[in-house]
């Protein structure tokens, strides 16, 4: 036990020291405080606008939080996932003479600070936004944090570590959790028949007595309802069951047999977790850590030098299941088709938005919004910087950059077409305008790509991840604002097509400038360390 506490304590101290030695940490802290203040302010306004006030609304919000978070955790435990084991744990902790149960608690404790912060926000938010009495808020904190943490940890131990369960037992538990989730979904669906479609339907489902009968998830809600709404037969029984479970589960976990058979699954999970961390660090969110399957494909190399990078990437994409497309492409297509269908079936009308001539700017605006949303997805080019051959190829850095990113621009055009064509047709804008909207989307994506390249490759030694995110967002924002100003002037003076062309010209100019800066990375290998 003392060894595990030692790891946590020393890791925390060293990490804190390291961060405090960087001046930018203090800037980040200021931004974080401002951000939190903004969040608290905006949530207050949001709840006011939603006319959500008082204990009843607070209970519904907590119920939603419980329904959303608990099944997700348990499903991952039942799949022997969801615990943050790293390779260092496999190396130094699994083989050490430490009880495997303690090791599970240690892994679970890594998520304790985040959980504590979240529950503090809920408790303090209750006082600020919903006028909850501080004593009740404290009591709630004890229930949802302390009791829930004990119960959840114990259930995690039982699901993850109980070796008497076997594969069949684990499957049964997984099935039971799914049964609870399905019961909740059915409850929600049943509300559709008795309520008009909307927010109230969800609220009534969350307040439904049957929800409280669902083990653990419902019992937790029952306890909260007992605390805030007052006693009734169902919440008294279910809250009692909740307390019984909170006592029985730790006892069962204490008694269960656990010699560390889960280590093998945890090792696999550690591989996936480390891979996910690596992807997060490099900004790549696509795909999973598991090995991808590739098709057979061929490509004819036309030309040499840096062009070889393009053809090699093309070969890789041809071997991929969906060629250049990824899940973002399908999301864009889905959004566009749904919007077009909504217009077609008369559910929604762009004319109702009373935008007049500015209506043609809806598509570029949606494209810009999507560029912001998917800004964390780093494309394939970043892998080129990990490959020493990129630097050995006898060609200029700019040509290497161009051929490393060319397919990303093609991909952006395809995604742009997915987004703009169905929606553009439904909106009734001209084919030329649709084409220009596709170009705008591709230009905005190019800006994002080269901004990422400059930030991650050149600026990352100077700024932390928070600082880089700010630079990324503000640069993209500045380009967009300048582009919008140009587009508005062009539209007023000549017409929307001219406005679009000015926007494209501004975005292309910035993309070229950023690409020139980014090409530095393709000239020297030191940049490898940042990827």
């Amino acid at each position: 036990m003392s060894a595990l506490i030692y790891i946590v304590q020393r890791s925390f101290t060293n990490e804190l020291k390291k961060r405090l030695s960087r001046p930018l940490t203090y800037v980040a802290i200021v931004f974080f405080i401002l951000y939190m203040a903004m969040i608290f302010g905006s949530f207050g306004t949001f709840f006011e606008n939603m006319t959500m006030d008082g204990e009843e609304a607070y209970v519904l919000l907590l119920s939603f939080f419980i329904v959303w978070s608990i099944p997700m955790s348990f499903l991952s435990y039942a799949r022997k996932r969801g615990l943050a084991f790293k390779h260092s744990d496999v190396h130094f902790v699994f083989s050490a003479p430490i009880s495997p149960k303690l090791i599970l608690l240690y892994a679970n404790a890594k998520m304790l600070p985040a959980s504590l912060l979240m529950n503090l926000v809920i408790a303090v938010g209750g006082i600020i936004w919903f006028n909850i009495a501080p004593v009740k808020s404290l009591l709630l904190f004890l229930v949802i944090f302390v009791v829930e943490y004990i119960l959840e940890s114990s259930l995690m131990l039982l699901v993850f570590g109980d070796e008497s369960l076997g594969e069949k037992g684990t499957r049964t538990i997984r099935g039971l959790i799914w049964a609870c989730v399905i019961a909740m979904i059915l409850l929600l669906i049943s509300q559709i028949f008795t309520h008009p479609f909307g927010w109230q339907m969800v609220l009534d489902a969350l307040a439904h007595p049957l929800l409280q009968l669902i083990p653990v998830i419902g019992w937790n809600i029952a306890f909260i309802r007992l605390l805030f709404v007052g006693p009734d037969t169902i919440n008294l029984i279910c809250a009692a069951l909740y307390l019984i479970a909170a006592v029985a589960a730790p006892v069962a976990a204490w008694k269960m047999k656990c010699t560390g058979e889960y280590f093998e699954d945890a090792m696999t999970f550690a591989d996936e977790y480390e891979e996910a961390l690596k992807r997060k660090k490099s900004g790549t969110m696509e795909g999973s850590a598991r090995k991808k399957k590739y098709k057979k494909a061929q490509v004819i190399y036309r030309g040499g030098g840096a062009r070889a990078i393009f053809y090699r990437q093309l070969l890789e994409y041809k071997k991929s299941r969906f060629f250049l497309l990824n899940y973002n492409s399908f999301i864009l297509l889905g959004i566009s088709i749904v919007a077009a269908a909504a217009v077609f079936f008369g559910v929604f009308s762009f004319e109702d938005m009373e935008l007049g001539a500015a209506r043609v700017f809806i598509l570029p605006a949606i494209g810009a919004y999507m560029t912001f949303i998917f800004s964390s997805v780093t494309p394939k080019w970043s892998a080129e910087l990990k490959n020493p051959y990129t630097f050995l190829i006898p060609d200029t850095p700019f040509r290497k950059l161009w051929y490393s990113t060319l397919l990303e621009h093609v991909k952006a055009l395809m995604d742009g077409a997915f987004l703009c064509v169905p929606m553009g047709i439904a909106m009734g804008i001209t084919p030329v305008q649709i084409f220009l909207c596709i170009l705008i989307y591709a230009c905005l994506q190019a800006n994002r790509l080269y901004i990422s390249m400059v930030c991650d490759g050149i600026l990352s030694p100077l700024f932390g991840s928070f600082g880089l995110s700010l630079i990324r967002m503000s640069t993209q924002g500045i380009i967009m604002i300048l582009g919008i100003i140009g587009a508005v002037v062009g539209t007023i003076l000549v017409g929307p097509e001219a406005g679009f062309l000015i926007l494209i010209a501004i975005a292309v100019a910035f993309a070229l400038l950023l690409a020139l800066l980014g090409s530095i990375l393709f000239g020297k290998m030191e940049s490898l360390e940042n990827y």
Binding site: A3, Y6, N14, E15, V90, F92, F94, S95, A96
Partner: protein, 261 residues
């Protein structure tokens, strides 16, 4: 009496067995990585698991370290390997070292001291770090070290346990010549102190002057096992290629027979 028990008794009768592997089998889904393998490494000897990539060496090592589920039995000084008492006397150097990002070199060893309740003194730690040229790097964090340095820390940690059984999986990979020389000396010193060592490797020349028993593996089986005495003046190269060539001949013969049939 079950076969496993008989085998175990026979082995115990040969002398004190520090590391005992009985009828070990391990599959990854449909792939059989280790197939009914049994061997023992007696007190104070160096056993070498020799074999090509994918032979099943690392699977055996990971099974002994208690990291994998397996069929069969593994015991360390007669104690099942998953028990804490067995883990307490067992040091492990994995193939790829993975240090804690935010722990310094010295703190890694301090962690080991606490986890294993090792009686290693501060002076002994100093001397160990000096020996592997880590004394000037003891305040470096895990994520600030090169792969070779990480491997050295991993070896120091395993030695800090003061184990009775030390298991090293491809320990020479990533080490500089000085560290390899130092590690070889350490292995011989540990053996002289009565520690049992099991080393997995495919680098024959690195362990030629270290071994007492060699287990030649391929495709999840032990093809041959020799003690130093049985091998006579043959070096590991000759033993290994002799055993694998014989196995290949057998396989070809079987294939021919099957073809004819």
């Amino acid at each position: 009496m079950p076969d496993l028990v008989i085998l175990s008794i026979e082995m115990e009768e040969k002398g004190k067995i520090m590391l005992q592997i009985l009828d070990l089998s391990k599959s990854y889904r449909k792939t059989l990585a280790v197939d009914h393998v049994s061997f023992t490494v007696p007190d104070g000897t160096v056993g070498i698991l020799l074999g090509p990539n994918g032979a099943g060496k690392s699977t055996i090592i990971k099974s002994v370290a208690g990291l994998l589920r397996f069929d069969g039995a593994i015991s360390i000084q007669g104690i099942p390997n998953r028990e804490l008492a067995a883990k307490k006397i067992f040091g492990y150097v994995p193939e790829i070292p993975a240090l804690f990002d935010a722990l310094t070199v010295r703190e890694h060893i301090e962690y080991i001291r606490r986890a294993y309740r090792s009686d290693i003194t501060d002076e002994e730690i100093d001397s160990l770090l000096k020996r592997f040229a880590l004394d000037d790097k003891q305040d470096k964090l895990g994520n600030e070290l090169s792969k070779g340095m990480m491997q050295k820390v991993s070896i120091c940690c395993a030695l800090a346990v003061k184990p009775k059984v030390l298991m090293l999986d491809e320990p020479m990979v990533g080490l500089d010549p000085q560290a390899i020389k130092e590690l070889k000396e350490v292995i011989l010193e540990q053996k002289a102190q009565g520690v049992t060592l099991l080393i997995s490797t495919h680098m024959l020349e690195m362990v030629d002057d270290l071994w007492d028993e060699v287990f030649i593996m391929d495709k999840g089986h032990i093809l041959a096992a020799y003690t130093r005495e049985e091998a006579g003046d043959k070096d590991l190269d000759a033993i290994f290629f002799g055993a694998t060539a014989e196995e290949q001949k057998k396989e070809e013969q079987m294939e021919n027979e099957e073809g004819e049939a």
